[in-house]
Symmetry: D2
Subunit: 246 residues, 4 copies
């Protein structure tokens, strides 16, 4: 029997403790709500910004198949050394799902090589997510489009590296569009960004949103080769004779 | 009349001063040899690692359309602040051409979000560069394939972000292959990596290699929109009424 | 002095002759309106479905740098042999700009390898085109977004091959999104699809729309290598000795 | 329990009957050899060019998850109607693995929108396949590179549409390179092209080659959404009020 995918849900966990409005939506934090809603198919581990090493210990990272990242107001409080470690694990094959305001996290920007900038507005309005790549595993079980009734608007231009796949494009009532679900490969790791999830709305209690994240976990888990290049190897002995060296 | 493209050739300029063998090939430095061989169609500016700010002043960067980057043993001596500035200028639309061992520069790795690792061997052997995307402007004037008679071997897997285009793939006599010419977009900036150019071989005196770099300069110069998003704008007033906010 | 780009505007030219409403908007046909609005920077040639060979003679194709294609109700009347010829010219390096309902032309579907299907509605409503890849030459001179006040809705999922670049994404008032400006490479030829241009609206009299098409002409003109592989060559004599053949 | 993936191996089956040299390698045909070597994890069905409808009946296609296609001298004998049907099934979500000389099949060219041309030589020499995208599921269980000791040379430029992923690049002893394993998406279907498999060499008896094809079957099976757009739907009633229609 296949063992459960080991999911590390990292959430800065600040809004939920400081803002009663957010606490009302996610009393135990976004991380715990995600785990509860994603269900029992995965093994969970958690980390938050105020823990030692933000909970991102070597042991925890080594035992993680897929990490979920939610951050916003505390991006700057995440230590550079921790970002380096998580980044290295992504290159080493750990899957990563970056949610909502994580677009401005040090980690995501380091993976993209770009600013992660976008246009935004907290208007509490409606968005529609269109599954434009229905054959992608992340779209499994989803309708052709679904509504998130109240969300923060995120609009283009989203300054990211060119994605491998654009799985979702969002329509916002105020006139904007947004590539709201995109994938990249970095090193051996698969990365998925997903837009919904402002802290003041019950977005992570919506079944379509949870289905997307659940699918993304399965997709992001490493399924490739085990014999992979390590470091920058000096291939001292050529495989074929180099006669031209002269 | 169109003004000349302003090219900033940055070269760490260490090997050429310290190693007589390199000095014999590039007596005035790789940067000066490149400028001489690229000819008078461009306006040049230069920078090296030992200058104040490595020559990467705000004024110089602001007056640059396309930067060429050659570095190797002094990657670690390039100040992080300088890397941040050049990176920001790429996102702002400055073209960038990274040559040979620049694959391990802080700048290139920051743009890629990956390690930039590859397999290597100084075997002085032959490589063949195949133009697999002949319609790309960077391939203009080039033959279907050409030989670089003596080069350092760089082999896959090259740990880079997925390229926009693979323009060249190299065959190495020792049995390796390498995506030796690739393009990316980062922010508003176009980036081209090109493999040939080990300091001990006269590679930058070879006409096909120079033609590739010349083409890349023309291609990398910004030709896009001038009305572009700045920062992460708060689009406070929606363009269309948001009735669902309720 | 560079000679003018030779542009062949192909328009089936049926609606404009049969439907007074369309004739009122484009009395001389969409092709003539396009040429007039694109201005005198290009050399024009025209073809329509009712001409011999639809005007797509060998001589005309050989003398074309970039073709623009508008078709709708007469897709089925375009002879397969003509489609083969135009397709072959694209592979040979002719640029191609497919407009609006051309998404269902035999030519575009042959280039894509897909159905070209999409969701649609003639609601005469508003759309907003967002330039999500501002550094692309096709976005030069365009604002970050612009409105086409009345257009036919085209919505995702648009069944096309994965594009090289998504330059524009459209927002439609009715809730849909659409990748309204996309590029591909086929053989040596560059292909651009652009959504606006329903025959009953004066879309091709709008300056931003014309600017996009003008940019696309410059972009689509072949700028690559002249030494290119012809056919499927039998490389009888290897460049390097094949010792393993045994 | 998950049911077995239903694999349809289509092989023109001409060389093996007409050429004793080929018959010696594949006495029951390439299709039967593939099935035997791929093992019992899959349910197989077969078709050959001389069967009625080439074995490509509606019922057989409807019951197929992934098709493997090998063809060479009989490309022209495959009826256009059969090609249309298989193409339609790919757009509808059937996976497709095109082997070796299938690059010139009507089916593959229709999916690509290009000529499928390449450079070739029957030199019986050695090739090395480098897994340049080790994180791809198709690379699972494979070494960083492996040798096919005797194969027909296929070299760039391979005239295909831009791939989603280049999983393998081959080195040929005679000096050529080739993107020997590439993926595309067409409609809902996943497509993989894999270069090895000339009829006169025992390539499909080599374990690494079989491992690649086995992996590709698992990868190509549809895993996406079930609620997908059918045809080109007239979305007559907008989801949001279209007030601008006026």
């Amino acid at each position: 029997m296949a063992s459960k995918i080991r999911v590390f849900i990292w959430n800065e966990f600040v809004h939920e403790r400081e803002d009663p409005k957010v606490k009302a939506v996610y009393p135990d934090g976004i991380h715990k709500a995600l785990a509860k809603n994603l269900g029992t198919d995965f093994d969970y581990r958690f980390g938050t910004v105020d823990e030692p090493e933000h909970g991102l210990t070597d042991a925890a990272l080594a035992a993680t198949d897929v990490m979920i990242w939610w951050g916003h107001m505390a991006h700057g409080r995440v230590a550079d050394a921790a970002v380096e470690k998580v980044h290295a694990r992504v290159l080493d094959g750990m899957g990563l799902i970056v949610l909502h305001s994580g677009h401005h996290s040090k980690l995501f920007r380091k993976l993209m090589g770009t600013s992660g900038n976008l246009r935004w507005r907290e208007d509490n309005g409606k968005s529609r997510l269109w599954a434009i790549e229905p054959s992608h595993p992340i779209a499994a079980g989803l309708p052709q489009q679904f509504v998130v009734p109240h969300e923060e608007m995120y609009g283009e231009r989203f300054d990211v590296a060119k994605p491998d796949d654009v799985v979702f494009i969002s329509w916002f009532e105020g006139g904007e569009v947004f590539r709201s679900g995109m994938t990249w490969t970095r090193g051996l790791g698969k990365v998925f960004y997903f837009q919904p999830g402002h802290e003041t709305y019950p977005t992570y209690h919506q079944k379509e949103v949870i289905q997307v994240i659940r699918n993304a976990i399965g997709w992001a888990k490493y399924q490739g080769a085990t014999d992979v290049m390590k470091g920058a190897p000096h291939a001292q002995v050529p495989m074929e004779p180099v006669r031209s060296a002269g």
